[in-house]
Amino acid sequence: MSAKLMQGNEAIAEGALKAGVRFFGGYPITPSTEIAEGMAKMLPKVGGTFIQMEDEIASMGVVLGASLAGKKVLTASSGPGISLKQELIGYASAAEIPVVIVNVQRVGPSTGQPTAPSQGDVMQARWGTHGDHSIIVLSPWSVREAFDIAVKSVNYAERFRSPVILLTDEIVGHLRENVELPDEVEIYPRRIPKKSRAEGYQPYAPDDDLVPNVANFGEGYHIHVTGLIHDETGFPVGSPKVTRESIKRMHEKIARAEDEIIEVHQEFMDDAEFAVISFGGTSRTAYEAVLNARKRGIKVGFVRLITIFPFATKIIHEVAKNLRGMIVAELNFGQIVNEVERAVKGQCPVKLCAKYDMTIFEPEEIEKSIDELVAEVSK
């Protein structure tokens, strides 16, 4: 353990490195660039490789190639850069290639407000790429947690052989805090084949957890990797049965581990009549708003989504049972609120506290929303 002042983006680079990332491909874009800069400096020190590619698409392609050749990989970007990466995020889903993509959110659409914070890419993180797919999206609220979530993201990418989106925002990305980082972290190793070719190894045959043990290139397995729908052999098959089973398995491999993946941070919920739901950098303000409201005697609790997707549907549904109302505070026009409403199923009112003006929430703004909700349900 050593205490160090660092920003969220630096902590993500440190965490990824600690989790075993040895390859980074990227392209400069504010406010994510410090992650690439950190990797450019640190990776060659540990025998790893950093490459600045010609564009965001190539940055995704190069990390996917490196992942298939056996390296744990990371890439990072923001807003429009993430949109460009979406094509190959779909490829990573289909070909089941471990990869972590960091999105340090800024105001959009388009070039938007390039250095100002936003949380407008929630739905892009879930549905940005084409086709039916499953994905894991995690969001930190502090520099220390950015490190932990970077480690967790790398481990999930490897365990589920899936793209994992580390969805942070300019608030946490550029936040500087004094943190103590662990010297050792738990690491999920690259999955390896359990059979030889002679024993009938099939690269895309699912293991007991529905995840295939795809061999790395260069190990003599002569595997074929494609973005076309394929069967257990890895080769494309144009059949409805294989298509259905393939898409279903790729959803189920993550869905069946949901209880483990989904993490929600709750405080002051024992006596809560109301709750503020938030995630990422906004949670810092929401926490203070909740503390202030409680000082004024309002029984309001704090709910923070650490795992954004798969969405904490069951937990939010249960939480809503005991509440008179919920606030969803997010730095966008209203995105995660729809997921919350879907989970709450009308058990209590859900009120959106949205902000999309390139500035972060003030605690008073969320408190005002709490007061309004209290007044509305007390009529």
Binding site: V46, G61, H222, P236
Partner: protein, 276 residues
């Protein structure tokens, strides 16, 4: 008895291939494995075949190596990742004229610029075959395509000149007709440590030749025979003879330059991580 030792390089259970009768892609695919067979540094276990999307890019599925059929235009970034993550691997890229010079154009020039140790073989059929015959950036002026029904007015790329200007260290062209030359050209490309680019002209009788009244596949290959001029002879031709359909084949450019993986190993040395 015909020598067919190259057959071991194919996944017999994946054949026959999906290409049309008379297509030139199979000739180039065979030439690639014949060139690999002659290079003892390239084995089926240490060679990765990477391809994009299109007719030619389906070749990877038939070849018995570790094979990577990527997204449209993206073969070179994927291949770059494979090579840099494990420089002990030999990496061959199979691409087409649309895949490499249209949607993948940026990746192509930057792969050349970095001198990544890849051997890139562009199957040039002058058309988008898989989607039914649309004009590509290498469709010659005046030739017809479904998206150029009155003849193409888009000036085509000379992919070899592009590769040379962008920094490739081996640049050559051959055709599906000049098979021995094609094998030798790919063989030399495999031997070059750096970005090697080989344009292999192939006939597409279905989507290109038919629409442009070029006759059957044999006639299209006879056209290659009659119009290809070896580089050494081409250089001696006066400009007024370099007319009509005539085009040069052979080695256009070769240079010694440090490949990207070797250059990056110096970064690792400076940073202190070379031993790891």
């Amino acid at each position: 008895m015909i020598e067919r030792s190259y057959e071991k390089y194919f996944r017999q259970n994946r054949l026959p291939h999906l290409w049309c009768p008379g297509c030139g892609n199979g000739i180039v695919m065979k030439a690639i494995v014949q060139a690999i067979e002659k290079n003892h540094a390239f084995t089926q276990d240490n060679t990765v075949i990477v391809s994009g999307i299109g007719c030619s890019s389906r070749a990877s599925g038939y070849m018995d190596f570790d094979t990577l059929h990527t997204a449209h235009g993206r073969a070179i970034p994927f291949a770059t990742g494979v090579k840099l993550a494990n420089p002990a691997l030999n990496v061959v890229v199979i691409t087409g004229d649309g895949d490499c010079t249209a949607i993948g154009g940026n990746h192509f020039i930057h792969g050349c610029r970095r001198n990544v140790d890849l051997t890139v073989i562009l199957f040039n059929n002058n058309i988008y075959g898989m989607t039914g015959g649309q004009a590509s950036p290498m469709t010659p002026l005046g030739k017809k395509a479904t998206t150029a029904p009155y003849g193409s007015v888009d000036r085509p790329f000379d992919a070899c000149k592009l590769a040379e200007a962008a920094g490739a260290t081996y640049v050559a062209r051959s055709t599906a007709f000049h098979v021995q030359h094609l094998v030798k050209t790919i063989e030399d490309g495999l031997n070059n440590r750096g970005f090697s680019f080989i344009e292999a002209l192939v006939q597409c009788p279905t989507a290109y030749g038919r629409r442009n009244k070029m006759g059957d596949p044999a006639k299209m290959m006879a056209w290659m025979r009659d119009n290809a001029v070896m580089k050494t002879a081409w250089d001696k031709l006066p400009d007024d003879k370099k007319t009509g359909d005539k085009f040069p084949i052979g080695l256009f450019y070769q240079a010694q330059a440090e490949p990207y993986d070797a250059a990056y190993s110096h970064v690792q040395e400076i940073a202190g991580g070379a031993a790891q």
